[in-house]
C-alpha cells in the first residue's frame, strides 16, 4: 500500500521536473542557459494561482502562468540575446527580482488575508480500465492532466529535436551558429523564440506546484526545484529521454522525502530528508563523467566579431 502511494507521489512530483527540464534542454541546445528558471517557476506558480483564483478556471490559471513565464522570458531574452549580456548574471538578477515581485503582486491582488487563500487543485483524471492495473495503475493512470501532458511531450520533444529539420536547426544553433547564420537562418530569432517557448513551459511547470498540487501559493513554494530541473538537463546529457529518466529519479527522491516525513518514521531528521534531492544533484553532477555540452552554451552570438 505504501509503495503504491510512494509511486503515485513520485510520478506526480516528477511532472514539473519533466516539463522544466525539457524546456531547459531545448533552450540549452540552442546555446541559451535559462538561469532565470527558478524565478520563472516562481512566477508561474504565482500566475497559475492568481489566474485560477480570480477566474475560477484552471485553464485560465495555466494560461496566465504561461503568459507570465513568457513575459519573464522575454526580459531574459532581451538582455542576453539582444544586448548580449552574461546569462548567469542576468538570470540571477531576474531570480532576485521575481522573488520580490511575486510576493509584492500577491499583496497587491489580495492584501493580507487572514487565512491562506486556496483553490481546489487540478483533479486527477483516472483512465478507465488502465487505472485498475495493480501496483502501477493508480500511479500512472490516475493523475492530473499536466502529468499526462508531461509524459506525452517528453518523447515528442525527443522526436522533434532529433528527427525533424526544426530540431536540426535548434541543435546547430548551439553547436555552430555561424553555419546556421550562413544558411540564411537568423540565429538570434531562433534563440529568442526557443527561450520564449521554454519560459512558457517553465511557467506551466511552476503552476503545477501551486494549482496542480497544493492549491495555494506561498513564496517558498518552489524552494530550489527550478534548479533541480536545471540540473536534470545537465545530468540527462541534453537529451529529452535522459531528462525524463532524471526527472523520474528526482521525483522519487522528492516523494520519498514527503512520504517518510508524513509516515512518522523518525530514523533520519526531517531536515535531511528535505535535502535529499539537493544532495542527489551534487552526487550525480560529480559522478557524471562525459558531458555532451553544446559548443557555444552561454555565448552570445556576435556577427563578425573583431
Amino acid at each position: 500500500m505504501i509503495w503504491t502511494g510512494l509511486l503515485a507521489r513520485a510520478i506526480q512530483m516528477s511532472t514539473p521536473l519533466m516539463i522544466g527540464s525539457l524546456a531547459e534542454v531545448y533552450a540549452e541546445r540552442t546555446g541559451m542557459m535559462i538561469i532565470a528558471i527558478e524565478g520563472i517557476f516562481l512566477l508561474g506558480a504565482w500566475g497559475g494561482f492568481v489566474g485560477a483564483y480570480l477566474s475560477g478556471s484552471m485553464f485560465l490559471g495555466l494560461l496566465l502562468a504561461m503568459a507570465v513565464g513568457v513575459m519573464a522570458g522575454s526580459v531574459y531574452g532581451f538582455f542576453t540575446i539582444k544586448l548580449k549580456q552574461h546569462q548567469i548574471v542576468t538570470g540571477t538578477a531576474i531570480n532576485i527580482f521575481a522573488a520580490g515581485l511575486a510576493l509584492y503582486l500577491y499583496r497587491v491582488f489580495f492584501g493580507v488575508p487572514l487565512l491562506p487563500l486556496t483553490v481546489e487543485p487540478l483533479a486527477p483524471l483516472s483512465i478507465p480500465v488502465l487505472c485498475d492495473i495493480p501496483l502501477i495503475g493508480q500511479a500512472l493512470f490516475n493523475q492530473n492532466i499536466l502529468t499526462y501532458i508531461a509524459f506525452l511531450i517528453m518523447p515528442a520533444g525527443y522526436w522533434v529535436l532529433f528527427k525533424t529539420p526544426l530540431g536540426l536547426t535548434l541543435r546547430s544553433t548551439g553547436e555552430n551558429p555561424e553555419a546556421v547564420d550562413s544558411a540564411g537562418i537568423n540565429v538570434e530569432k531562433v534563440r529568442f523564440l526557443t527561450v520564449l517557448f521554454a519560459s512558457a513551459m517553465d511557467g506551466l511547470a511552476g503552476a503545477f506546484y501551486s494549482i496542480g498540487f497544493l492549491g495555494l501559493y506561498t513564496n517558498d513554494i518552489i524552494g530550489g526545484r527550478g534548479w533541480i530541473a536545471f540540473a536534470i538537463c545537465f545530468l540527462g546529457n541534453w537529451n529529452p529521454m535522459g531528462a525524463l529518466l532524471g526527472a523520474l529519479v528526482f521525483g522519487l527522491a522528492d516523494a520519498a522525502s514527503i512520504v517518510i516525513q508524513t509516515s512518522g518514521f523518525r530514523l533520519i531528521p526531517n531536515e535531511f530528508l528535505i535535502a535529499i534531492p539537493y544532495i542527489l544533484t551534487i552526487v550525480a553532477t560529480i559522478a557524471r563523467k562525459q558531458f555532451n555540452v553544446p559548443a557555444v552554451l552561454g555565448v552570445p552570438y556576435v556577427k563578425e566579431r573583431k
Partner: protein, 376 residues
C-alpha cells in the same frame, strides 16, 4: 584524469568585459545612474499599492539618516553585505560563479554560535578569536568543497554551489531543532550567547560594532591579494583567459580550490558578524537573502573591493530606511527585493551601454589611424 577541461568561450568573453570597464573616468557615474533608474522603476511599483513614490523615498532616506542610531545601523548592516559581496566578487575575478554565499554564510553562523555557546567561559578576546576562525573555517571548507569538485570532477561550480546552499540550510535547521536548541525548548533558535562573545560596539548606544572595521580590512586584504600578490595574478589570469593561463604554467585547479576557499571564508565571516555582532543568537529562517544581495552588490561594484564596499553601504541604507518605511506604512517588505532586482537589471543595462561606447570609441580610433596612413 583524462577528462577534457576545456574553457567554454563564455569565460574568456566575460573576462575581457570586466577588464574593459575598468579605469574609465565614468566608472563611478554608471552605477549611480543605474541605482537612480532602479529606484525610479520600483517607485512605479509603489503606485500599484496607491503610494506616492516621492513621499516613500523621502521617508526612506529621512528615516535612514534620522539620527545617529540609524546612520550607525547602515554601517552595521553593510558589514556582512561587504563580505557576501566579496564572496561572489572575489570568485568572479577568476570567472568562477560562487552563488552559494548563502550556504557558506549559514555554515559560518552555525560554527560561530556553536563556539560561542560551548566555550562561553573563555576570556572575551580569545572567545571572539575562536568564533571568528571557526566561522571562516566552516564557510571556507563549505566553499572549498565546491572548488574541489570543480577541480577534480570538472563539475559546474554554479550548480554545486547552488545545491550546497540547500544542504547547509538543512544542517542549520537541524542544529536549531536539535543539538543547539534553546534550553526553554520552545522555538527553533539558540539561547542568547554570553556577553563576552559579543563583538564590542564601535559607537556607543548603537548596533555598529568593530566588525565593520574588520570588513573594511578584509576588503583591503582582498584588493591586496588580487592586485599585489602572485596568487592574485594567477586568479586574474585564470579569469581573463583560462587557456592562456594554463599555457603560462598556472595550475588552474589549485586556483579553483583556493578561490573558493577564500570566497567561502568571506561568507562564513559574515555569519560571525551577524551572530556575534548583531543578533547574539541564531534563529531559524535568518537573513535568507544575504547571499543574493551579495551577488547584487558585487555586480553593482563591478567585482572590485572598493566598489563592493560602496555598494554594500548603499544597500545597507536601503535596508535600514526600507525596513522603517515598511514598519510605519502598508508597503510590504518585498519592495526591498524589487528595488534590488531593478537596480541589478539597470546595472546590466549600463554594462551594455558601456561596452557599446567602448567599441565605438576604439573603432573610431582605428579609423582615424587608417586615415592618417599609420596603418600597415
Amino acid at each position: 584524469m583524462a577528462q577534457k577541461d576545456k574553457q567554454t568561450p563564455v569565460d574568456s568573453y566575460l573576462g575581457e568585459k570586466i577588464k574593459s570597464r575598468e579605469g574609465s573616468f565614468y566608472m563611478f557615474l554608471w552605477p549611480v545612474f543605474s541605482v537612480l533608474l532602479g529606484l525610479a522603476a520600483s517607485g512605479m511599483m509603489m503606485l500599484l499599492l496607491g503610494h506616492n513614490p516621492f513621499l516613500v523615498f523621502l521617508k526612506l532616506f529621512s528615516f535612514a539618516f534620522r539620527d545617529m542610531y540609524n546612520v550607525a545601523d547602515i554601517f552595521a548592516k553593510a558589514a556582512p553585505l561587504i563580505l557576501t559581496g566579496l564572496a561572489f566578487g572575489f570568485a568572479f575575478r577568476a570567472t568562477l560563479f560562487n552563488i552559494g554565499g548563502q550556504g557558506q554564510f549559514y555554515m559560518g553562523c552555525v560554527a560561530a554560535v556553536f563556539c560561542a555557546l560551548k566555550l562561553y567561559f573563555l576570556p572575551s578576546f580569545f572567545l571572539l578569536l575562536v568564533c571568528l576562525s571557526a566561522s571562516m573555517l566552516a564557510g571556507g571548507a563549505w566553499g572549498a568543497f565546491v572548488g574541489y569538485t570543480k577541480a577534480r570532477f570538472n563539475a559546474s561550480e554554479f550548480l554545486i554551489s547552488m545545491m550546497s546552499t540547500y544542504v547547509a540550510l538543512a544542517i542549520m535547521n537541524y542544529m536549531l531543532r536539535g543539538p543547539l536548541k534553546e534550553i526553554k525548548g520552545e522555538y527553533p533558535q539558540t539561547d542568547v550567547i554570553a556577553q563576552n562573545a559579543w563583538i564590542p560596539t564601535l559607537v556607543p548606544h548603537t548596533r555598529l560594532h568593530w566588525g565593520f572595521v574588520l570588513a573594511l580590512g578584509i576588503a583591503l586584504v582582498a584588493y591586496f591579494v588580487l592586485w599585489k600578490t602572485s596568487l592574485g595574478f594567477k586568479i586574474r589570469a585564470v579569469g581573463m583567459n583560462r587557456n592562456a593561463a594554463r599555457y603560462a604554467g598556472i595550475d588552474e585547479k589549485r586556483v579553483f580550490i583556493v578561490v573558493f576557499l577564500i570566497s567561502g571564508a568571506f561568507a562564513g565571516l559574515a555569519g560571525f558578524m551577524e551572530v556575534n555582532g548583531i543578533q547574539h543568537m541564531l534563529v531559524q529562517g535568518f537573513n535568507p537573502m544575504i547571499g543574493a544581495e551579495g551577488i547584487g552588490i558585487a555586480i553593482l561594484g563591478n567585482a572590485h573591493p572598493l566598489g563592493i564596499v560602496l555598494s554594500a553601504i548603499l544597500f545597507g541604507a536601503l535596508k535600514v530606511g526600507g525596513n522603517l518605511v515598511v514598519q510605519t506604512s502598508t508597503i510590504p517588505s518585498s519592495i526591498i527585493g524589487i528595488m534590488e532586482g531593478f537596480v541589478m537589471l539597470f546595472v546590466i543595462l549600463s554594462y551594455f551601454l558601456q561596452d557599446k561606447i567602448t567599441t565605438r570609441r576604439s573603432k573610431k580610433e582605428l579609423r582615424s589611424k587608417e586615415k592618417g596612413g599609420v596603418s600597415r
